[in-house]
Amino acid sequence: MVTITLRKSRLLEKLKLTEGELEEVLFNLKSEIEPIDQENIAIEINADRLDMLSLGGIVRAAKGIMGVELGEPKYKVVDTDYVLEVRSVESRRYALGAVVYNVNLDQEKLRELIQFQEKLHDTIGRRRKKVAIGIHDLKKIDTKRIIYTTVPLNYKFVPLNQKETMTVSEVIEKTDQGKKYGNISVYNNLSPAILQEDGQVLSIPPVINSEKTKIEEGTKDVFIDVTGTNLQAVMETLDILVTNLAEEGGVIGRVKVFDITYMNFSPALIRRVVEAKVDYISKRIGIELVGKDVVRYLSMMRMDSYLEGDTLKVIVPPYRIDIMRDVDLAEDVAMAIGYNKLEPLQIGTMNFGKFLKETSLYRAFRELSIGAGLQEIYSLVLTNSNYLEGNFVRLLNPISAEYDAVRNSLVWTTLKFLSRNQRARFPVKVFEIGEVVVPSNSDTGFRNDLREVMAVMDSKVSFEQLQSLLHQVIVNATGIEPTYEENDDRLFIPGRGAAVMLKGEKVGILGEVNPEVLVKFDVFYPVVISEIYLGKIANLI
């Protein structure tokens, strides 16, 4: 989700809608509105609909779904005598340019345009790594030939919103923009640059524009440069930008691009033809549709299409970069119909569902443990590595030391729980059944293991006190009498720890916790604890 802010009155005026109606229309276009103040609203746009990141795009889409304007709008495109010469820029190979006349920026349009640029940077631009945009006041560009090339880091210019001349290095080191984006495309001490023919800097992609060609209130026409590492993304970004500006009254000016093999002119304004079977779309949605219905629905989504027999050919406009194939068209048709006008179909039940073995085990042991008088607790899987012992999974990028590892036993999280409850009404008698993560020979090297922990904390506890409960839980769940063997686990007081055995296999541990361990967890009351391995027990019975 991407959020943009727009002037409410501008949007309502253009669409001739009330606020409530606008909310409804946008909801059916995957978007939600949230009032900010009297004048402004925030609109959430889904990540696939980059064409809706500006007012023009929202208006275009809304008019279609409202039935006010149908099909792809035909925007005026003129040729210009501007030339973009693209030289070899290894770190950021692709660059395209376009002119848009009649943009006529006022205070609000200027703010919207900068917002549009930033939102495209954050989405398709992958925070400028993949694509970056420079927008210039056309009037302030002195030459018709504009060059995309590299400059050394001591190359000088006045960066946007600065008064002094700076070198590229200084911009990278000293300005906020430089610190954030400066290192993306510098390579061999060279930085990409968009220059006038006379060598004056228009922008240093993907970092910053120059003050020289700054757009401002009153700017009439703009020159847009788009650079990046992926040609398709560069083309798409430019197409979305210019078509959205055209929707608001701009006239697209084509720029000659040369010395590169991939293009002669830009913007490319690519229209792809995507085919789909009418029958496939019908089946996908679950509604009987004939060809002309589908054509009409797609026109509401601002796409032109025609039929060749039972095959639908859709001319996907340059701004609908999210349409990949037939399934995407099916969604647009469903949207044009309205999701809430589609009657949900009952699917009926053919088979009975089945619980996992783990769920059945959980339920059996849980019932018995509650019967044994223990309170069920539920702790987090992530925990503090300081408390863990043995092999465990450590997070490579934890957000805090409290949660930097994955529990490998329920004993540790339970002792932590007990330490927080020393002022509770005694006795504290608890159990938890849950998964821990242990090394294994699975395809990831780790697996979940289902375990149960039981513990009693009181001013006086005994081994037998918990053993008697544990014993009954196991006997009742398995029908087998467990046996107990000495276990000199350091967790327990010597001579008071046991291994719980079932059919000769160790299926758990039980004992009075060693004060050394209690103190580590800041527990100052005696504790008797047991952990049993439910997965292993299930395999034995």
């Binding site: 990540a47 992958r126 999701y339 699917i347 069920e376 899987v381 090297g445």
Partner: protein, 469 residues
């Protein structure tokens, strides 16, 4: 069963063998009336025997008698004044006030003083009024001679009253307390219990605290959600927390430079996974490169993460090429780095479902979602078109909550062919995921998500068990 008081009195009588009501009253500091009622009760229960009951005229101290005993007799006061030498009559009168006349009269009568020229002189060294000793005897109930009685009466220090006096004799020990507190098998079998009275309890008193075993309220919610899915014909599946990016992202058609795959959106784990299905790897690589137009890196796909969505489990199921019709669901923990606050935690539960059926479509998917939410207790839902990389068409489900309005509750869609086909699944497939924690908060009235994993046992003990939801 005897009361505390009865036991005290019985024990005193036992020590004395034979005693009287007056003696009991004086020694135990009890009013006579209490002594009578206790002794009569003990006698009726057979612990003591009343030897005799006498109505007796007894001397009782008057108010005057009590006062004099405490404060001293007037003539004693006079002689105390005289002990430092002769005193003028007027002076003695001033000191003694209204007692003066009585003091002079008794002192003269007993020959204790001499009066000459208006001056009083003591004739004795010290003086203690004989009445004092007599009064003390009378108070203890001792007998006095006739003259003595008339002396005291004459000075209005005592009066005669008729009183009942009982003499009582000890017969038998009180029974042990425990036998009357607890009914024992022996008492029942022998019939002995008939001989006893059960101690009456204060049944209005509140009991002491005893912890009982109770299900965790949030886990109970999760178990009920499982039951909803089972009842709709879905079978439960699971997969592990540590997952390969391949199943968490790549198979779900999320390009490797997708913002949701950035390091701050999932927890990384050291290590590298292994996928033996070369065909699957190849096909996933193909669809990524074809549609997302970049170079797919297998090493990235094999990296380990804590799964960030249970759709990873769905991807695992798909990778086994399930044959339609297939309906599965999973409920499990997912992990995402986030700032922890009242509505965010770094681990939470998702319910993911997958349905693969020959003629499955969007309307059927909406139908499944409607049934699931009805089962969970959300009666009214609406659908919003949405975007997820792995589904098309995609839908978000909004549910109506009375005090909140429409709340986003789930994401769903028909899986893209780019997701199903590499796994060899060619039938339509629907999938959805919903966050259970937020839903549980709505249903359980929990304001802070951390309370779902509370480490405060008193909070858990205080949770009422939900009878319905």
């Amino acid at each position: 069963m005897l009361s505390e008081l009865e036991l005290r009195v019985l024990s005193f009588i036992k020590d004395k063998g034979v005693t009287s009501s007056t003696e009991i009253s004086a020694s135990l500091g009890l009013p006579k009336s209490s002594v009578f009622s206790v002794v009569y009760h003990l006698a009726s229960e057979g612990y003591v025997r009343i030897v005799s009951t006498k109505k007796e005229r007894k001397l009782v101290l008057t108010e005057e008698g009590e006062t004099r005993l405490k404060a001293g007799f007037p003539e004693e006061k006079l002689l105390k004044i005289l002990s430092r030498g002769p005193v003028k009559v007027q002076e003695a009168k001033d000191v003694l006030g209204k007692d003066f006349e009585i003091a002079m009269s008794w002192a003269k009568k007993r020959g204790l003083i001499n009066i000459q020229r208006g001056e009083i002189t003591s004739l004795v060294q010290t003086y203690k009024a004989p009445e004092r000793e007599l009064l003390e005897k009378a108070k203890r109930g001792e007998r006095l001679g006739v003259d003595e009685v008339s002396l005291l009466k004459g000075r209005n220090l005592v009066e005669e009253k008729e009183e009942t006096e009982i003499e009582v004799e000890f017969l038998r020990e009180p029974e042990l307390r425990s036998a009357l507190l607890f009914l024992t098998p022996e008492l029942i079998r022998s019939g002995e219990w008939r001989k006893y009275e059960f101690k009456k309890f204060n049944v209005r008193a509140l009991p002491p605290y005893v912890p009982i075993g109770k299900k965790h309220y949030f886990r109970e919610f999760i178990e009920r959600a499982k039951e909803v899915m089972i009842s709709l014909g879905f079978s439960e599946v699971k997969s592990d927390y540590v997952e390969m990016e391949f199943y968490n992202f790549d198979m779900l058609f999320q390009p490797q430079d997708h913002p949701a795959r950035e390091i701050h959106d999932s927890f990384r784990v050291e290590g590298k996974g292994e996928i033996k299905d070369e065909e699957l790897l190849k096909k996933v690589k193909e669809v990524h490169e074809k549609w997302w137009n970049y170079k797919w890196d297998q090493e990235v796909a094999l990296r380990l993460v804590m799964r960030s969505q249970t759709t990873a489990t769905t991807a695992r199921v798909l990778s086994t090429s399930p044959k339609p019709p297939a309906r599965v669901f999973t409920i499990g923990k997912v992990f995402r780095p986030d700032a922890i606050d009242a509505t965010h935690l770094i681990e939470f539960h998702q319910l993911d479902g997958l349905i693969v059926e020959e003629d499955f479509n969007l309307r059927k998917l909406l139908g499944v979602l409607k049934e699931i939410f009805a089962g969970l207790g959300i009666k009214e839902i609406k659908f919003k078109p949405a975007y997820f990389p792995f589904t098309e068409p995609s839908v978000e489900v909004y549910g109506w909550i009375d005090r909140l309005g429409w709340v986003e509750m789930a994401g769903a869609g028909l899986l893209r062919p780019e997701v199903t086909e590499p796994a060899g699944v060619y039938s339509p497939a629907g999938a959805w995921g919903l966050g259970l924690d937020r839903l549980a908060m709505l249903f359980l009235g929990v304001k802070d998500i951390r309370d779902l994993y509370s480490d405060d046992i008193e909070f858990l003990r205080s949770r009422k068990v939900e009878a319905q939801w």
